[in-house]
Amino acid sequence: MTELTAVPVIDKARLLSWLQQYGVYLAVLVLLLFNVLFTPHFLEPANFRTQLIQVAPIVITSLGMALVIGTEGVDLSVGSVMALSSAVVVLYLGYGAGPAIVVALLAGALVGTGGGALVAYVGVQPIVATLALLVGIRGVANVLVPQLREFRNPTLIWLGSTSVAGLPLVVAIAAALTAVVAFVVRRTVFGRQLVAVGSNRAASELSGLPVKRILVSVYAVSGTLAAVAGILATSRLQASDPTSLGLLMELSAITAVVVGGTPLSGGQVRVLGTVMGALLMQLLSATLIKHNLPQSWTQMVQAVIILAAVYAARGRHP
């Protein structure tokens, strides 16, 4: 009764499931190849550095988003949290870069915890809870720092501009965080439980998982990661700009996660896929910029890629 019967149907299904899992890698490869062939100066290390530095904050934010989506949620507040952490970090620079960063991270974690609590304890739907935060937290950030504010703190500037062993620190941080999140998802109890919650919340609750605590933690992690991204973006910009920093970041992050093959219906987290999704969107926009094509093209191509990704990933909802 429980054996799998080998049927020919599987071949098409296999291809689909392969595409679903690795399509984004393929797309990145194709785009790289195109650039190597047709874009001058593409192979220079400086170019790769630029691309990686630019994508780093998106990757970091998307990691948190992937976890939230794994629990069948979504975190629309990430962009506003970036703005908030940016505002907070420059406000507290008087106490030194270290304490300022800690306070900014705490602010991100706090917003995330608040959102998570709304979802887990109050029962507000994730999209609404974090929509409210998207609106409200941007307001708070604007009140804290009403207009772009520059800073000269050398440590914070160093953070955004230094390299370790040729690798920009910002990129190294994104890579390290990717590794940590991948490890958490695959090998820790928290990671396992998180996807279980996303797959079947009722069953997880009855199985004795601390569902509410897991949910709150996941949003807190997402908030913290968004704060990391906000701090890094601020340090690279050498200024805090809460009015525009992180605008539409929620869409970029969701796009990276979805293009990376994580289903919005929860129960699965593809960490590397997410990173690839972010890279794909970055490469795409860089390619179009390098070939001097207007922004409206980028928008249209992005739309097509998002659709292609979900078409490939559609799998279970025919």
């Binding site: 100066h41 630029t50 630019q54 207009q147 772009l148 910009l237 050498q238 700009d241």
Partner: protein
């Protein structure tokens, strides 16, 4: 550092006139800057636009750069647009540097936060000409020079026009630009400072953002007309918001001149509105940077001295000159 006021004798095509001849400020030369001479016809030139080309100012600005480049035979011009996102503009310029641009013309979205880019450009000795907005950095060391208007001064001149229109007393509302933007800050401060200085009889009773767009300008003005019927003057920090306000005034059954309006930019539609009597005056913010920018670059590459600031002389459009200057508005 700045400039004359009052209507300028306009050049026939509305092209920019530098109000500061090379005398003002410490001058810069290729030698002092430490760069390589470049050839505009062969080397890559990058232009980074800050906002979407959806309003006349940005359109005219980009067009002027492109037209002039074509005219001069610039072989490899790259144009990027940051879509009003500062971090994107930083990325754009970094991309241009990575691609090997030898000259950068930047219309910055903001004055601050350019250090990472400047450091990279400096390393490669790439001269940067910023246009329309200043950046806070050292000319001739961090970048080459700035060409553009003085927004604070624009605000002051708008105030002068408003004071004249109202005879020095009344209630004035301000349609602010996008929040957090330093053009907004400067135009607001210039206006308020001048009003406080010259016309204590004018009270500023209302300040709301119209985000530099026509629709928001219209909506906010509709609320304004309704809740503060005593308002005598509206200062709009750009023409688009002013035109939105005109639509709102029309909708409320007002006649031209009922509410005195002053705005900044000098788009054709706004100058037409002066002719029609809706606007009292428009302080120009000339977007045609192409000729002056390339001229400056050419002089620089040729070893000539370049001033630290090339402040252009903005005109003013009023009832007197609007009809005749319509052709020069952008």
């Amino acid at each position: 550092e700045s400039t004359a006021s009052g209507p300028e004798p306009a050049a026939g095509d509305g092209r920019q006139v530098a109000s500061t001849p090379s005398a003002a400020g410490p001058a810069c030369t290729l030698e002092k800057f430490g760069g390589q001479p470049f050839d505009l016809t062969k080397d890559m030139v990058g232009f980074s636009q800050s906002e979407k080309e959806a309003n006349p100012f940005r359109i005219a600005e980009t067009k002027s750069i492109k037209d002039e480049a074509r005219k001069l035979g610039v072989g490899n011009l790259r144009v990027t647009n940051a879509q009003s996102q500062f971090s994107k503009q930083i990325s754009d310029v970094q991309q241009l540097i990575a691609q090997g641009a030898k000259l950068l013309v930047i219309a910055p979205l903001n004055s601050d936060g350019w250090e990472p880019v400047l450091a990279q450009a400096k390393q490669k000795k790439i001269p940067i000409v910023t246009i329309d907005r200043k950046i806070n950095a050292e000319p001739c060391t961090d970048f080459l020079t700035f060409i553009g208007s003085d927004f604070y001064e624009q605000g002051r001149r708008a105030a002068d026009q408003m004071i004249a229109a109202l005879g020095g007393k009344g209630e004035v509302a301000i349609l602010l630009g996008a929040p957090g933007n330093n053009v907004t800050t400067d135009r607001t401060k210039g206006f308020k400072d001048r009003v406080a200085e010259k016309a204590p009889g004018i009270r500023i009773t209302f300040e709301q953002t119209g985000e530099f767009t026509r629709e928001k300008g219209q909506q906010v003005t509709e609320q304004l007309i309704q809740s503060r019927p005593g308002t005598n003057g509206i200062y709009a920090e750009n023409d688009e918001m002013a035109l939105g306000a005109v639509t709102a005034l029309k909708g409320a059954g007002k006649s031209p001149g009922d509410v005195k309006m002053v705005s900044i930019d000098g788009t054709r539609a706004a100058v037409q509105a002066i002719v029609d009597g809706w606007l009292h005056a428009v302080v120009e913010s000339n977007p045609r940077f192409g000729p002056l920018a390339f001229e400056t670059a050419r002089k620089f590459a040729g070893g000539q001295e370049i001033p630290a600031n090339v402040v252009i002389s903005d005109r003013e459009y009023t009832k007197e000159n609007a009809q005749s200057s319509l052709g020069q508005a952008y």
